[in-house]
């Protein structure tokens, strides 16, 4: 297999149709009133907003803007509002700063200098607000995680990845960008650098140590069972960089498959208890 950008090309019209059908069927069968999603002004949530609106109508999709003072970015807020208007979503703004400060004060061992632990509280607080709205309004939470971040474990366990459905989780970031443009998300927004907004000026590519265009090809190679050496040779990368990606890819499984219990009984949750997701 030749690892060129062509391997990531998609029939965008077909992908759009399939995702819209997936969202619509789930919302209908679950018997809910619609969708709640977090709107960050980034490409992933903008894409999911557009898809959700097309699937069930913007009047049934509530976009929540969840800023907090440390990572507040006026440009991102404006982008989020722009997307909401373009796809006819309702929006509400919930500033989570005071809730976060409550957490910081409540935890006796809180360490303000540990930005990862602190940042994860932000992601989990956003999740808590999303689920409050979903419960209250009888809606589902629609997640915005993409495949690049999911496979790299570049997300907060029980935080930004927590959702009832994740419509773009099987699309790599570069594919999401193309789908975003196809859906009418402004190009500047579709291509702007990604950030999880856990601390000021955090940039995904800087933390991952590789550009998404290259990362996605490495991940595609790993998905297709290519060896580290093959991937590195084709992409002209150091074996060590590909190995680093692969290790991260493997070690993040605990974040993707979250229930783990010792096998003690006849059928064990998270192991061999296999029930369908269904609308009982």
């Amino acid at each position: 297999m030749n690892l060129t950008p062509a391997v990531l090309e998609l029939n965008l019209t077909e992908i759009e149709t399939r995702i819209i059908r997936f969202i619509r069927e789930y919302v209908e069968k679950a018997g809910t009133n619609g969708i709640v999603l977090g709107l960050s002004g980034g490409v992933d949530s903008s894409t999911v907003a557009a898809l959700s609106s097309r699937a069930i109508g913007g009047d049934k999709v509530l976009g929540l803007l969840l800023p907090e003072k440390e990572t507040l970015n006026q440009g991102d807020m404006e982008d989020a509002i722009l997307v909401a208007k373009k796809f006819n979503l309702e929006t509400q703004v919930c500033d989570i700063t005071r809730a976060l400060e409550g957490f910081y004060e409540t935890i006796p061992i809180f360490d303000a200098g540990d930005r990862l632990c602190k940042g994860n509280i932000k992601a989990r607080s956003r999740m808590t607000v999303l689920y409050y709205y979903a419960n209250k309004l009888n809606r589902i939470v629609c997640g915005s995680s993409d495949k690049s971040e999911t496979m790299m474990g570049y997300f907060t366990k029980w935080g930004d990845v927590a959702a009832d459905i994740s419509p773009i989780m099987d699309l790599y970031k570069t594919q999401v960008r193309r789908l975003a443009e196809h859906l009418g998300v402004p190009r500047e927004l579709a291509l702007k650098p990604a950030t999880p907004a856990l601390w000021p000026n955090q940039l995904a590519e800087g933390e991952l140590g590789i550009k998404y265009e290259m990362l996605d090809l490495v991940l595609f190679g790993l998905e297709r069972f290519m060896s580290i050496e093959e991937i590195a040779e084709q992409l002209r990368l150091d074996n060590d960089l590909v190995l680093k990606v692969k290790k991260r890819w493997l070690s993040a499984e605990h974040k993707r498959r979250v229930l783990l219990a010792p096998k003690l009984g006849y059928r064990t949750p998270g192991q061999d208890f296999r029930l369908p997701r269904n609308d009982y």
């Binding site: 399939r18 029930l275 369908p276």
Partner: protein
Amino acid sequence: MKNRIKLALAQISTRRENKEENLGKIEELTTQAKTQGADLAIFPEMCLTGYVVKDQVYELAETVPGPSTRRVATLAKKTGMHIIFGMPALSEKSRATLYNAAVFIGPEGLIGTYHKMYLPTHSVFEEKRYFRPGYQPAAFSTALGNIGLCICYDLFFPEVTRLARLAGAQLLVCISASPAVRRSYFETLAAARALENTAYLAYVNLAGVEDGLQFWGGSRLINPTGDIVAKAKYDEEDLVVCDVDFQEMKAAEPFIPTLRDLRPELYEQLREAAEHI
């Protein structure tokens, strides 16, 4: 045996684990097909229960005959229709073993059952976890002609339809639960199985979404020279009534004499080679 029959490609989506609702749909569409002149209504794989039912299959499976097949038999008798549909079948003998089955019922009652021989257990599929494979190809001599059955992944193995054809099948029926990413494989293979056997092939797939799997529909009737005679919509439920003209097989066979040119001695070599992959 008739020279021409009308069959209905009854491409439905299911309500998982709700046999009552799914049987209701089978009744509704069979009746509709009858009003459009159909002799045979074909429904997708596992359409009695839904495809992605995981451990619930142990609760949902029934013997054949059993409550659901008796209800379909009543429908067949009342409408004068032949009906083929998919369900998880509980072995009458062992009362413990399950099969992924295609059940064939006519106005006179149960004609036969086919147990899927090739059970996909890769990617999103976990059929071997639940089902025992079948061992017998199926070709049933009926008032409508000789009809062979296979199920979904069987289509990747030409021996299944070939055995049915050699047992006399003129119409090969493949019921399926194929998710969208595999559409091109089935579109290719369905045509190939018809062409290589110079027989009609009716492919009937599920529509709808189950547990993230999107079934692509696209059911079709293919004639003995591999052309699509009739085709249902992609992805959505549909009912397409179409004609099978068995006379076309006579014209196809001299033009593509695959059965005449079969080389039985190669099958022994194939067997030996397959044992040593």
